[in-house]
Structures are given as structure tokens and as C-alpha cells.
Symmetry: C2
Subunit: 227 residues, 2 copies
Amino acid sequence: MIKGIIFDLDNTLMDFMKMKGRAIDAAISAMIDAGLQISKQEAQSKIDAIYKEKGIEFQKVFDFLLEEVLKDVDYKVLAAGIVAYRKAREAELTPYPHVYPTLIQLSKMGLKLGILSDAPSKEAWLRLAYLNFHHIFDAIVTFDETGERKPSPVPFKAILKKLDVAPEESLMVGDWAERDIVGASNVGMKTAFAKYGDTFDTKEHSADYELNDISELVSIVKEINKL
Amino acid sequence: MIKGIIFDLDNTLMDFMKMKGRAIDAAISAMIDAGLQISKQEAQSKIDAIYKEKGIEFQKVFDFLLEEVLKDVDYKVLAAGIVAYRKAREAELTPYPHVYPTLIQLSKMGLKLGILSDAPSKEAWLRLAYLNFHHIFDAIVTFDETGERKPSPVPFKAILKKLDVAPEESLMVGDWAERDIVGASNVGMKTAFAKYGDTFDTKEHSADYELNDISELVSIVKEINKL
């Protein structure tokens, strides 16, 4: 009997990499338009290097780029980049197809819904609020709450406790085989691999189910719960 | 002969107070919707007090509000407030009526266009980029560049130098009589009071001209330049 479903956020409920890619692309064009002397390719590779060093959630990536290219921050260029980034990000901050209707349907079936994300709390919550997910989910656990990342059992146990659901009554849905699926299995949860969000070209995974579309969850739950 | 026109930004080219008011209003509603136990009136008066103490450009106003009300920052409430604020701000970040066509027309008449703002550089430039003004104006001077505020002659001289225009060949347009108008007069510029943006209920000003609509600048310049 499944009583709760727990989702990873980035690349499971929303296409984080597409959003990030398009926002950065828009920012580079706007900075060049505002006078920055650099090719799109060079800017892209410098930004990739900054994210690689500082992490993908680093908030000062354009400041660092301008320091490197201009040895100084030109506010005209910086502001043009930030504004273009924000506009593109907001336009791209949408869930995968069928996410909203599937969540509502699962909710109406009496299931509790949770999110378990390794992203830093403030950035994760901002994305959740843009998506209106803060009104839909019963509980959300982000990195700062436990200080541990998947596949550690700590965050999994934290979200199960918040939802008041036993591991064997829960299903974890995620795109990252080694973290979401292995971690959830280790604490006794059922698992579904979000193949539609796979950015690693994952060849093998140990999940109980594989999703090509999030809406397949409805029939999986109906089957398990013999509805 | 007028060769350059210099504008104040907030409440002269755009309705800063309206934007701020609507963004804060949207944020308060969203925070209450996300679970914050407070009345709209109480939240508004607490936010007013924080802005009064920290300045209207203070970027952590919701963090401070939640610290005060909850003795802690609830990320769900914070993120809901920030996202609602950003969406409303972007929707409201538009210039006064007739600003774009007037600027383009003045530009086609061969006039140089500048902005002189007392706002901190990053916040001013972000507003400028949202408005696309960074492509329209020939020069912009914000607070951080001179470290002095109007009516000090220092920022006025800085923008005139950037535009390469003599004081007597320039016209300053602003909504703040004691700062924009008096400061510009003191360095020898002609002046126009932006009455349409007046939030102080100004009774008297010493400006050479008074504008009920920014488009009146076109005929003023034509008259002075005997075009």
C-alpha cells in the first residue's frame, strides 16, 4: 500500500538544466549587446568553468566573469546580464509535461506528496515558489535542513518523518540512479526512475519502475494499491 | 542652445513608488498565503519601519520581517514573498507615459541624453536594464560613481563631463525640487520640474519649466533652440 510519493526536484519535476542553459544563453547575448567584447563560445566556456569550481547554484557568476574579462565589474554589462538571465529563467521555470495534473490526481487519490532536494534551501524554495509547488506539496526537505545529501539515509528519513509515512508505504521518484534510487532503496522505499529527466545517459538503474512520463505514476500506484 | 538633457531616474522616468508599493503588496499577500500569521496592515507597517531604518533599497526586508514576526526565517514564506515581489516588480517596471517616444524624438533631434541618479549603482542599473534604458542613454551616473548625492555639484559635473556638454547647454529634468532643481541651477544648468512624478506634493520650485507630461520637453527644446 503506497501512502506517500516523494519526488526529487531538479530534473524530476522541472527541467533544471534546460532552464539554466537558456538563462545563461540569454545573459551572454545581453552582455555582448551591452558592450562586452567576447564571443558567445568563450563566455559560455568561462561560465562553465566558474560553475564547475563554485557549484551550479553560485549566484555571482556574472560578477566573476566580468572580473576575469574586464578586471572590473561594469554595471551596465552586469545588469544587462542579470536582467536577461532572470527573464529567461522565469520563462523557463515550468514543470515537465503532465506534472501538475499528475500531482493533483495523486493528491485526490489520498496520497501524501513530498519533495526531497539536495539543492540549497533558499534556491530550492525560490524555484518551488515560482512553480507554485509550495501550495501542492505536504512536506519539503532541502539540503540545509539535514546537512546531508542523498544517498545518505538522513534526508530520506527526514522527509518520511515529515510526511508521517513508513518507508515501505512510500515511493521515491528521481532522475539520479546513484543518489535518488540507491538511497531510497537502502531505507526500504519503493523506487521509480525518472527516465524522462535523465541527463546522465544512465544505462542501468536498480529502480522498481521506470517512467517515460510522470503520469505513469498514477497507474503504478493503482496497481500496487489494487485500486 | 540645448545640447544635452539629463534626467533623474526614479519618479522622473519611472514611477518608482508605485512599483515598490505594488511589489510589496503582492509579497505580503503571498507570504500570508504561504502561512504567515499577520494582517496585511501590520505587515505593511513593519515593512515601512524596516525601509525607514535601512533605506528604501534594502534587499533583505522580508528576511528582517520574518525574523521579527517568527524569530526565524521560514523559507516557504520567504520564497513566496520574494517570488511575488519579483513578478509584481517586473510587471510594474515600466516608464511613465510618453517616455520612450519622447526619448527617441529628442535623440533624433541630435540631443545627448543622460541619467543622474542617487540610487546605488547595482539597483539603479538593474532598473535601467529592465527598462532597456541602457541602450538609449549616452551616459549614466549613479551614486557609487561619485560618492556624493544631489544637490552636491559633484554628480552634476560628472554627468556633464561624461556627456561632454557645458552646463548652460544642458537641461536637468527631475521630480525633487531641493535636489534635482536646486543642485542643477547651482552649477548653471537649465531646469525642468517633473510635476507628473511629484510624490512630495511640492508647492514651490525654482525650475525654469514645469512638466505635466514628459513629452512637453520636445517643444521646450524647440523653443530654446529656435527650431
